[in-house]
Amino acid sequence: MDEKHSCVTLSVQPSRGLVDEKFVILVQNSFPSSLLTIYAHHQCEDGNSWHAFAHYTSDAAGAVNVSEDCSMGGTYSGVEAMGLLWSLKPVPGSKPGLRMRKKNVQAPMVVTISVYSSHLTEGFGDQVPLAGVEVERWYMAPGVRRIPVTEDGLTATLFLPSGPGPFPGLLDLWGGGGQLVEYRAALLASHGIASMALDYLTCKYTMETGKIVEQDYFEMAYKFLQKHPKVLGSRIAMLGLSLGTSVILKMAVHSQIMKLRCAVCVSGSHVQPMDGFLKEMLDYFSKNCGNTRFTKDNEVVWRDLLLPIPIDLSLKVDVGKLQCPLMLIVGEDDQNWCAYESAMDMKGMMERAGNSHLLTLLSYPNAGHLMEPPYMPHARVSLFRDMQSRQKMMVLWGGQTLEHSRAQEDAWRKLLVFLRKNLYSGVKSGSSSLSNL
């Protein structure tokens, strides 16, 4: 019996965690100073396999602690506690343009973590690992309730936190890809915010009538939250990415119905025709599609569509009129929207208007467009179905994996602090009663 085989132990703590929680991976009982590869494998709901790996040398006690030790190579290097998640890549031979997104948030993401002898870069399936464990990563904390919403003509899913409530509320908007994307709202509910993911491009109304929704659709969603018995009507926020940002900025400034406690806008812009709403926005983008560029690999670059930032106030939301705190999160390598330039323009408008004290701007060098919850694999490029043309194309989102992953982690933490401060504090702002978060 090979004693080495029965000795090595591998543990991941916690073995069941939320997707934004860190874990500690520990290898013990290997031979001192032995070469080891730690390997992560995940099979997506769509059947695609993803993997990540890193090369370590055990210490004099035969141990490796991924949170403290240096990876000498693999899909990440250096000291990276969560590298085995954010550096996950499709296994060799996979289709190009894949992006990892959880559809069923009621089941966990299961990742198998194994440790192999020596420094391997391939052939993991052919070797027997020294040890292996399974780790569950959840979007929903215990007790969080998932409630599909179809009343008032809405296509949405509401996630209520555990407990009697009532809770602060949040409307969660994604971007131009449409669909009802639930995972971020589920995760926010796990942090105590009643969050509703809203489909506004491929919703029932649009699929049946062929028409794009108007402002009243979003106001209906806001009113649904406001009158919900488990939601605190005076504490509602909005969070949006990409096209969702455009909607939020328009509503935050111009809607008579919405009285937002705060807003978070990720990777988006305030540039849009003030005359009209979503349909006019989409038409405006189409009109400028001549500004589309292509990389040498034929990837679509749309960041120039709204450039240069117009001076004309009929073509952008006047954020100088904003009355609630706003957090802008942008990646400086965003190749899909001119989010950075837009953020700079918004900052200038707010400074001139005297409401820049409401603005928190987080701008990340070398981060791309898809700023997701932390530890999700970075997609620099992926296959995207354009809503207008219904065509699938390879779109360049941008970002360099390491900096993008760091940015996701930092931005999410700050986003949670911002939401907590604005949704959970006393009526008078500036409360210092919250412990360090």
């Binding site: 004693e3 009982n29 959970y424 006393g426 009526v427």
Partner: protein, 398 residues
Amino acid sequence: MSLSSPPPILSVRPSRALVDEAFEVLVENLAPVSPFTLRSLHHSEDGDDWEAYGHYFSDHSGRVSVSEDLSFGGTYSGMEPMGLIWSMRPVPGSRTGLRLRKKDVTTPMLITVSLYNGHEDFRGNSPLVSMVTERWYMGPGIQRIEISDEELRGGLFVPPGPGPFPGILDLWGGGGGLLEYRSALLASRGYVCLALEYFKTGQMKSTDMSFEYFEVCGRFMTLNLSFFTFKFFLCGSVLGPNIISKPPGKTLSGEFNKIRVDENNHQIWRDVGLALLKEPSMKVDVAKINCPLMLVNGCDDQNWCSVETADDISKTMDAAGKGHLLTRLDYPDTGHLIEPPFSPHCVAGNFMVYSSNEKVIQRYGGKTKPHSDAQDDSWRKILSFLRRHLYCSHRARM
């Protein structure tokens, strides 16, 4: 609470944990220096409600941390990070003689932690905030295999990974039936573990309680399980240790007239064991044991004379020059049912006497706080004992 006042924020981390893992309960956004009660509630598989609660005061920043703050009373007091679990007991008005034991280990124990205004009067208020937390016996990837054939009956738990793993045979006591939770937990700690049912065997070929049954089990584990090493460990409690030590062919026929009752009419069985200890023919010759042996005893054990038994075993093994194999842990003010950490303490519980089908309440003994500390300490020592002897025993390791 007015609409404009901020809601409290309660967090339990980790929200999903194994039953032997600690958690941190933190409440923020409270009114400063005010009385609050934190309460845990669990609805058992048997339909009973169990609860624990502690009375706290928020600090000037409006915060209560169960890990750092003092409980001023309730079902536990003092600084007790896990008091909300180990001090759980049936809610007022419940049936008597209850014992909390999970039967279905494939699902977690759900515990709701809630915050209330006030101290003694907290029950009159609605909870301000609450959170559900999951406590698991089975870690992710643990496989449960039902063993149910003519010769053998039990639940086998296998850790994920290539193996091979050391194996453990897990035996419970005179209550009979199949209890899997300790085996599931041991598998979550890296062992193949078989929870063996040796009472109520139904259609079994072998005779109840005969030594042959355990030999069959041993053969099963060494031959049939490819993920099994030659290392083998017997973990028994109550009747279990007696089985491990029993000479072949003998069955345990207690001197049941030695049973006493206490002031509550609960049966105290420890004198039965004391009488048996005086009979050399009823004792296994422990001088013949050749492997390390760990004995975990409660000094207030009212069901079995564990300490006296351990004394007897110790004397015999010393005389045979085998004393170095023995590890003894005797815990003061600890009763009979030494369970995995944070399990609620059962000082007296319902018991079905196997031979007569009579339902009685047995006294197990122990005082809750020392008993809970003993569960925590002994589990850690059991795990390190297992690790030392089953994983890499050829290397000197602490």
